[in-house]
C-alpha cells in the first residue's frame, strides 16, 4: 500500500505530461502481455518439468519436522511453563464456560445425562431471551425453529451448536467491545489494531483450526477459541466505526459543557454508537455460527459434526437434514440480533407501544412463565427428552437421499454433462497450465505482473509469498487450489457485474434481490456444500460451484453499491447526449465503478478461496485436502499444518494483488487506445 501512495504523485505528475502518461500505461500493458507470452511459451516448451508435484502420501523434511513438533508439544504440555500457566488454564476456563452452557442446553458430550433445562425448558428460555432483546415475532420464530430441531431429531446437536455459539459470542463481546471502544477513541490503538484485524479476516476460516488444535487440543475449548478469533473482528471494527462516526459537532458540544472522558463515553459515545455496535454483534454472531460448524473438524460437537460425518460417508440425506438445521439456526440468530439492533435505534425506542415500566412487568411475567415451563421440563420426561415418536429425522434424511438419488439418476445427463464439459473444457486445461508450468517460470511471470500492476514492492511481496509456498513443499497443491479459485472468481465477477449492474440501475431489482443476497451472506460456508454434493457428487466441480454461490452475494452487493453510487448527474449527462443504455453501462458506469469492481474481485476472491479450501470435504484436492487429511491422520499432521500456512500465503498474495489493482489510479482516456 505504501508503494501505491508513493507512486500516485509520480503517476499524476506524468499524467499531466501528456505523451509521457500514454507511455507509462502502454508499458504496463506491454509488461502484462510479455508476462503472458513468457508463460505460454514456457508452458509449451518446458511443460511437465519443475512442477514440484508431491504425491498425497509423501512428505518433505519440513512436514516431518512439523510432525515432530506436534509430538514435542504433546510431550511438553504438562511441563512447559507457557502451557502450565497460560495456555492450559485458558483452555480449562473456556472449556468450563462452554461445558456449562452445553450442560444447560444440551447435555454432557457423552449424551447420557439429561440436559439441565430439558428440551422444552431450553425452548422456553431461548424464546424468552429472544423476546427480551428482540420482539414477539422473533420470539415465535425461535420457539418454532428450536422445536423443529427436535422434529429433525437434531435437538441435542443444535443445542450443542447453540451453546458453543453463545459461549464464543459472550467471550467475543467481552474482548471485542472494549477493544472496539478503545480503537474508536484512540488513534494509536486503531492504528495498531487495523492491520491485525485485516490479517485475521484475510485468513480462511479453515487454517486457524490446526494450530489451535495443536496448542489447545481438539474439543469444544479450541473450537470456542478459534471462533472467538474469527468472530471478533466485525464487532471490534463496528464498535470503533460507531464511535468514530459520531458527528464532530456533537462531541464538541458535549466538550463545551465540560464533560470528563468517562462522561463523554457514557452519555454521548456509547449511546450514539449503540446501534452500530449491535450491528457488529449481529455480524460477529453470524461469523461465530459459521466457525462453530467448521470447528467440527477439530471435534466440536453439534450440527457441524453431523454434516462432516455425513459428508465423509457421502450421506446426502443426513447432510441436508443437518444443513437445514444450520440454515434455520442462522436465520434465528440473524433475525433476533437484527431485531435487537433495530430496538437500539432511538426512533424505535420512542415508538414502542409499552412504556418502560409496563415492559418490565411483561418481561417479569413471561420470565415467571418460562421458569414454570423449565420446572415442568425438569420433572416430566416428555418435556425433558424430545419424544422419539415426533422425531422425523430419519424420514427426512431418507426422503432427501431418495430425491438426490432420483436427481442424480434422472438428471444424470444434465448434471453430468454440465460438470464434465466444464471440468474437461475449462478446469482441466487451466489447472494443467498452472500445475505443469515450471514453478520458477510461474514465479517470474507473477512477479512481472505484480510489478506491472503496482511496482517493486508488490513484486517483492508476491515473490516472497510464492517462495514460502515453494519451501513448504506444496507448490503443486497450491496451484491446484489456485486454479479452482481463479476459475470460480472469474465466474463470481461475471455474476457480480451482471447482477450488480442490474441492481445498481434499477431500484426494483435491487429491492427484489437484496434480501436474498443478505440471507445468502449470513449462511455458514459449510452448508453450501451440501446441496451441490447432492447434485454433482463428490468432485472438485462441486466445491467450485459451492464457492461461486458462496462468494457471489458479496461481489454482487459491492458492485451494485458501486454502480448506484455513481453520481446521477453523470448518468443523466450521458443519457442526455444520446447514449444507449448499453453505452451508458460500458462507457460510463463500469469505467467509473472500476475501483469498486476491483474491490468486489478482492472480496469475491477471498470468499472463493475460503470455500474452495473447505471444498476438500466434498472431493476438491489441493491444499484443502492436505489440511483435512492432517486433521484425520496424525502421520500427515505436519503436511496439513504446512498446507494451512500455504493457504495463508496464497491468500495474502491474492489479497495484495487485487487490493493493489483496486487502488492504482484510473487510466487516462488517451492511454486506452495504446
Amino acid at each position: 500500500m505504501a508503494t501505491l501512495l508513493r507512486d500516485r504523485p509520480i503517476a499524476a505528475g506524468r499524467a499531466t505530461g501528456g505523451p509521457a502518461s500514454a507511455h507509462r500505461f502502454s508499458r504496463r500493458t506491454r509488461l502484462l502481455l510479455a508476462a503472458a507470452v513468457l508463460w505460454l511459451l514456457g508452458f509449451l516448451l518446458l511443460r511437465g518439468s519443475g512442477t514440484l508435484a508431491l504425491p498425497a502420501s509423501e512428505l518433505t523434511d519440513l512436514h516431518r519436522s512439523l510432525n515432530l513438533f506436534n509430538g514435542w508439544i504433546a510431550e511438553n504440555r504438562d511441563g512447559n511453563p507457557v502451557f502450565m500457566y497460560i495456555l492450559t488454564p485458558l483452555r480449562s476456563a473456556v472449556g468450563l464456560v462452554a461445558g456449562f452452557f452445553m450442560a444447560i442446553f444440551a447435555a454432557s458430550p457423552t449424551g447420557e445425562v439429561i440436559p439441565v433445562l430439558g428440551w422444552l425448558g431450553t425452548v422456553a428460555v431461548l424464546t424468552w431471551i429472544a423476546f427480551a432483546i428482540g420482539n414477539v415475532k422473533v420470539a415465535l420464530l425461535t420457539a418454532v425453529v428450536f422445536t423443529f430441531f427436535g422434529v429433525q431429531g437434531l435437538f441435542i446437536d443444535a443445542a450443542n451448536t447453540f451453546a458453543l455459539v453463545l459461549t464464543a459470542v459472550l467471550l467475543t463481546l467481552i474482548v471485542g467491545i472494549p477493544l472496539g471502544v478503545l480503537a474508536g477513541t484512540s488513534n494509536r490503538v486503531q492504528k495498531v489494531l487495523t492491520p491485525v484485524l485485516d490479517f485475521m479476516q484475510t485468513m480462511p476460516t479453515f487454517v486457524y483450526l490446526a494450530p489451535l488444535a495443536l496448542i489447545f487440543l481438539i474439543g469444544p475449548a479450541s473450537a470456542v477459541i478459534a471462533t472467538v478469533i474469527y468472530a471478533a473482528p466485525p464487532v471490534i471494527r463496528l464498535s470503533s466505526h460507531g464511535i468514530r462516526s459520531i458527528p464532530e459537532n456533537t462531541r464538541e458540544a458535549s466538550d463545551s459543557l465540560g464533560t470528563t472522558g468517562w462522561q463523554r463515553l457514557y452519555t454521548v459515545q456509547l449511546p450514539m454508537a449503540r446501534r452500530t455496535i449491535v450491528m457488529g454483534i449481529n455480524q460477529s454472531t453470524m461469523a461465530a455460527l459459521s466457525m462453530v460448524t467448521i470447528a467440527a473438524l477439530i471435534a466440536a460437537p453439534g450440527l457441524g459434526q453431523v454434516v462432516v460425518v455425513a459428508l465423509q460417508s457421502l450421506d446426502v440425506g443426513t447432510a441436508v437434514n443437518a444443513g437445514l438445521a444450520i440454515v434455520l439456526m442462522a436465520i434465528v440468530l440473524d433475525r433476533v440480533t437484527t431485531a435487537a439492533s433495530q430496538r437500539a435505534e432511538p426512533s424505535a425506542r420512542r415508538a414502542r407501544r409499552l412504556s418502560g415500566r409496563a415492559r418490565y412487568i411483561v418481561l417479569a411475567g413471561t420470565l415467571l412463565l418460562t421458569l414454570g415451563i423449565v420446572q415442568v421440563s425438569r420433572s416430566v420426561l416428555w418435556a425433558a427428552v424430545f419424544p422419539a415418536r415426533l422425531n422425523m429425522g430419519a424420514a427426512i434424511s431418507d426422503g432427501v437421499t431418495a430425491a438426490s438419488g432420483w436427481l442424480q439418476t434422472n438428471l444424470y445427463f444434465l448434471t453430468h454433462s454440465f460438470r464434465e464439459s466444464v471440468t474437461v473444457g475449462i478446469l482441466n486445461p487451466f489447472q494443467s497450465l498452472l500445475t505443469e508450468t515450471p514453478f520458477y517460470l510461474l514465479v517470474v511471470v507473477i512477479a512481472i505482473a505484480a510489478y506491472a500492476i503496482a511496482g517493486w514492492k508488490l513484486a517483492a511481496v508476491t515473490t516472497f509469498c510464492l517462495a514460502v509456498i515453494v519451501s513448504l513443499g506444496l507448490w503443486n497443491d497450491a496451484m491446484v487450489t489456485l486454479a479452482s479459485t481463479l476459475l470460480a472468481t472469474v465466474i463470481v465477477m461475471l455474476l457480480g457485474v451482471v447482477f450488480g449492474v442490474a441492481m445498481g440501475r434499477s431500484r426494483r431489482i435491487d429491492a427484489a434481490m437484496r434480501p436474498m443476497l443478505d440471507a445468502g451472506q449470513t449462511m455458514p460456508a459449510f452448508v453450501y456444500l451440501v446441496p451441490f454434493l447432492g447434485l454433482f457428487g463428490a468432485t472438485r466441480f462441486t466445491a467450485i460451484v459451492a464457492a461461486i454461490i458462496y462468494a457471489a452475494p458479496v461481489a454482487i452487493k459491492i458492485t451494485a453499491d458501486g454502480i448506484a453510487a455513481i453520481s446521477p448527474t453523470v448518468v443523466e449527462a450521458a443519457v442526455s447526449s444520446g447514449s444507449t443504455p448499453w453505452q451508458v453501462i460500458s462507457k460510463v458506469q463500469l469505467p467509473m465503478a472500476r475501483k469498486t469492481l476491483a474491490l468486489a474481485a478482492n472480496q469475491g476472491l477471498m470468499y472463493v478461496l475460503a470455500m474452495v479450501v473447505i471444498g476438500a470435504l466434498v472431493g476438491a484436492g489441493g491444499l484443502g485436502y492436505d489440511v483435512v487429511a492432517g486433521f484425520v491422520q496424525s502421520s500427515v499432521f505436519g503436511k496439513g499444518l504446512a498446507a494451512g500456512l500455504a493457504i495463508v500465503f496464497l491468500g495474502i498474495l491474492l489479497d495484495r494483488i487485487t487490493q493493489a489493482a483496486a487502488s492504482t489510479p484510473g487510466r487516462k482516456p488517451g492511454a486506452r487506445r495504446t
Binding site: N249, A253, L257, G258, P271
Partner: protein
Amino acid sequence: MNSPVISVRNLWKVFGSGGEKVPGDAGLSGQSSAELLERTGCVTAVRNMNFDVAKGEVFVVMGLSGSGKSTLIRCLTRLIEPTSGQVLVDGRDVLQAGTSELRELRRRKISMVFQHFGLLPHRTVLDNVSYGLQIRGTAKNERYNTSQEIIDLVGLTGYEQHYPDQLSGGMQQRVGLGRALAGDPDTILFDEPFSALDPLIRRDMQAEVIRLHKEMGKTMVFVTHDLSEALKLGDRILIMRDGEMVQVGSGDELVGSPADSYIADFVSEVPRADVLTLKWITKTVAPSTAHDAPVLSVGTLIRDAIPVVMSTTSPVLVSNGDGTILGQIDRDAILSVIHGSGSRTSDGPASGNRTSVDAASPAPGSHHDEAVPIKELPREKVSGQEAVV
C-alpha cells in the same frame, strides 16, 4: 466602563506541524498567511488577535468562511488549543488553566451554541437541555426543574418529551440555546448558530436572542458571516480576514467609516439609512436655522428621522442626550445618504464637529471608547461628498 469579561491578548492559532514556532519567530510571524503556508505548510487561522468583551455586551465576530472566526471562538474555551497568547476570563488566563479548572469554566462560566446544534439524538428535549447540569452533578429533580424553566423561556413548552429529530431546525436550535442557558453561564458563545436555518426562522431566532439578551443580560460572543445579522445583534462587531482583525467597532462605525477598502466593499450593500445615526450627517448649525425647529437625538437612525425632516421645509436640529444642540440636518443630507447608498461611503461626520460627535457617545452600551479610531477616508470618497454638498 465595566472591566472586560473576556480579554484576548496576542492570540495565535497556527495549524500544522511546527506551527507552535510561528508566533514567537519574528521572521515567520511577520509573513502573510499565504507565505507561511508556502514556506512551512502551516495554516494560520488566528493571527495576533487582541480584543476585549465587556460584561453584558453582544460582541459579534464577523468574517467570510475561512477567515478563522470559528477557530477564534473555539480558542476561547480551548475546544481548539490556541498556539500562543492569552485568553483572560475574569482575569484568569484560560490557557494556563488545568484540566479541572478548564472543565469548571466550561461547566459554569461559558457555554456555547453550535451551528449544527450538536444535540444528542438519543435524549429528549428535556434531557438535552439538562445535559450540562447532569454533567456537573446536579440532582435529578433540581436539574429537571431548572430545565423546565429554561424550556419555557426558549419557547419549547410542550415539547419536553420530544426527540431532536422530531423538531424543525429552528426548534432544535432553541434546544441548543436552552442547553447553553441551563447552566446559567456568564457568557454564551454562538458559532454561526442560525446559518443553517431558513431566512424567516433565522429572523425569529435573532429576535429571540435579542429578547433573551434583554431579559437575562448575558454577555454574548456571536460569530456570523452574515453582515445584516451582525448589524442587527452586535453592540460591537469585529471583522476578521485571513485570521486577522481588520476593524472593530459599532455597526454604524463600520458602515460610516470603514477602515479600508475591504470593509468598505463589505458594507457597500448595507442600506445606510437603516444603520447610520444622525451623528454621521450632522453639520454645524447655520445662522438661518430657526431656533424652534424640531430637535432629534443624535442617536436616532437616519431612517427614523425621515418623517420629521420631510414634514418641515427647514433644517432639523440635532441634540445629544442632555439637550445640547450639536448641529443640524436637512433634507439634502438625508437624501444624499439614501442616494449614495450602495456605492458611496461619503458621509463621515463633518470634520468641523468631529470632536463634539465623538463626545456624544452614540450607541447603546457605548463600549467602544477603545475602538479603532475613525480612520482617514479614502480620497475619492471624500471628493464624492464634496460633489454632493
